[in-house]
């Protein structure tokens, strides 16, 4: 299904509310990558992120009457997605341990580009990547969410505050707490 240029999100929401699955398909196409990566930041596993993000879209469609066409769709959708991911992590026993042992869900983009010709540095970068992943896994849910939104989704403070419906000051305080925790985790493991 290809995205139609010029069609507004509001139109797609209104058509979805009339039961047009094709319109909802366009919304899915617009946000599927963002939803997948947001879930990946929560659960750290590609398969689970794929499954949870799809489940969130199914629930969003079932609750389509509650979408406000005058508000951004993703902000509303994100509440469903994060609740699913929180519940998933709660239900997954010892999820932190599993997250630490999960297949890599981050990649060292800058380091890989710089160190391709230096195997020793490459090994160091792979080790660092693993430690960052483990450090992030050891954060509390809320700190982890803020850090992931800032660092890997590259959102501005204002955007994070809108998405989570919290003041900008709270975003910054949680980010500070997350980074301090991560700094300590990296020092301990290094």
């Amino acid at each position: 299904m290809s995205e139609q240029p010029g069609v507004t999100e509001r139109d797609l929401i209104l058509r979805t509310q009339r039961g047009e699955t094709a319109a909802f398909g366009d919304l899915v196409n617009r946000y599927m990558r963002r939803a997948y990566f947001a879930a990946l930041g929560f659960v750290g596993s590609s398969e689970d992120a794929y499954d949870l993000s799809q489940d969130a879209f199914v629930r969003a469609f079932n609750a389509r009457d509650r979408i406000n066409p005058d508000m951004p769709f993703y902000t509303w959708f994100y509440q469903i997605l994060r609740r699913l991911c929180y519940n998933f992590n709660r239900d997954r026993k010892l999820h932190r341990e599993k997250l630490k042992q999960a297949k890599p869900w981050l990649e060292d983009h800058a380091g890989w580009l710089a160190d391709q010709r230096n195997p020793h540095q490459q090994v160091q970068r792979v080790d660092l990547q693993k430690r960052v992943q483990e450090g992030i896994a050891s954060l509390g849910e809320k700190d982890r969410e803020i850090l992931v939104l800032k660092e890997f989704e590259d959102l501005k403070y204002r955007e994070i505050a809108e998405l989570l419906d919290i003041p900008i000051g709270t975003v910054m305080s949680r980010l500070y707490s997350a980074r301090r925790h991560l700094a300590t985790a990296l020092e301990e493991e290094g």
């Binding site: 398909g25 590609s46 929180y86 869900w105 990649e107 850090l147 403070y157 700094a183």
Partner: protein, 150 residues
């Protein structure tokens, strides 16, 4: 942590993420110059920022996006199919029970006390089932935390 320290932490985050105003940056740099511990913390957090900045999400194979919507659509279809199967199962089971009860009642070869006992068993089971379902439904409706992440 007092409010001045809290303010410096917030400036620190804003400076790291390049969301600080010129005026606040000036105040922040003055605070850094005056406090060695703060400067040490700033260096640590800059290192963390440097590391996380170089990382990104691992990209999945592009093919998964081609079948993403189709997979969601299949879930819709299966959801509808499950509803239909459930309705069908409830109706056919109910009819089967009703029919069997009628047959037993009309069968004069089965002793009356046994027929009554079978009726009592089935009726009791049905009442129990309805009662449990009703209780669960009421609990669910009144649960103020049903939408809350526990």
């Amino acid at each position: 942590m007092n409010s001045q320290e809290e303010q410096v932490r917030l400036w620190m985050m804003a400076a790291l993420d390049d969301e600080i105003s010129v005026e606040d940056r000036r105040s922040f740099e003055a605070a850094l110059a005056a406090d060695a511990d703060l400067k040490h913390e700033w260096t640590r957090l800059c290192q963390v920022k440097e590391v996380t900045k170089s990382m990104r999400y691992r990209r999945p194979p592009e093919e998964i996006w081609d079948r993403y919507w189709l997979s969601i659509y299949n879930r819709f279809e299966r959801g509808i199919a499950w509803i239909l199967v459930s309705i069908g199962a409830v109706v056919t089971t109910g009819y089967g029970l009703w029919y069997t009860m009628g047959e037993i009642w009309r069968d004069s070869e089965i002793a009356l006390p046994l027929r009554l006992a079978i009726f009592a068993l089935v009726l009791g089971g049905a009442v129990l089932l309805i009662s449990v379902c009703r209780e669960k439904f009421r609990l669910w409706r009144k649960d103020p935390y049903r939408e809350v992440t526990r």
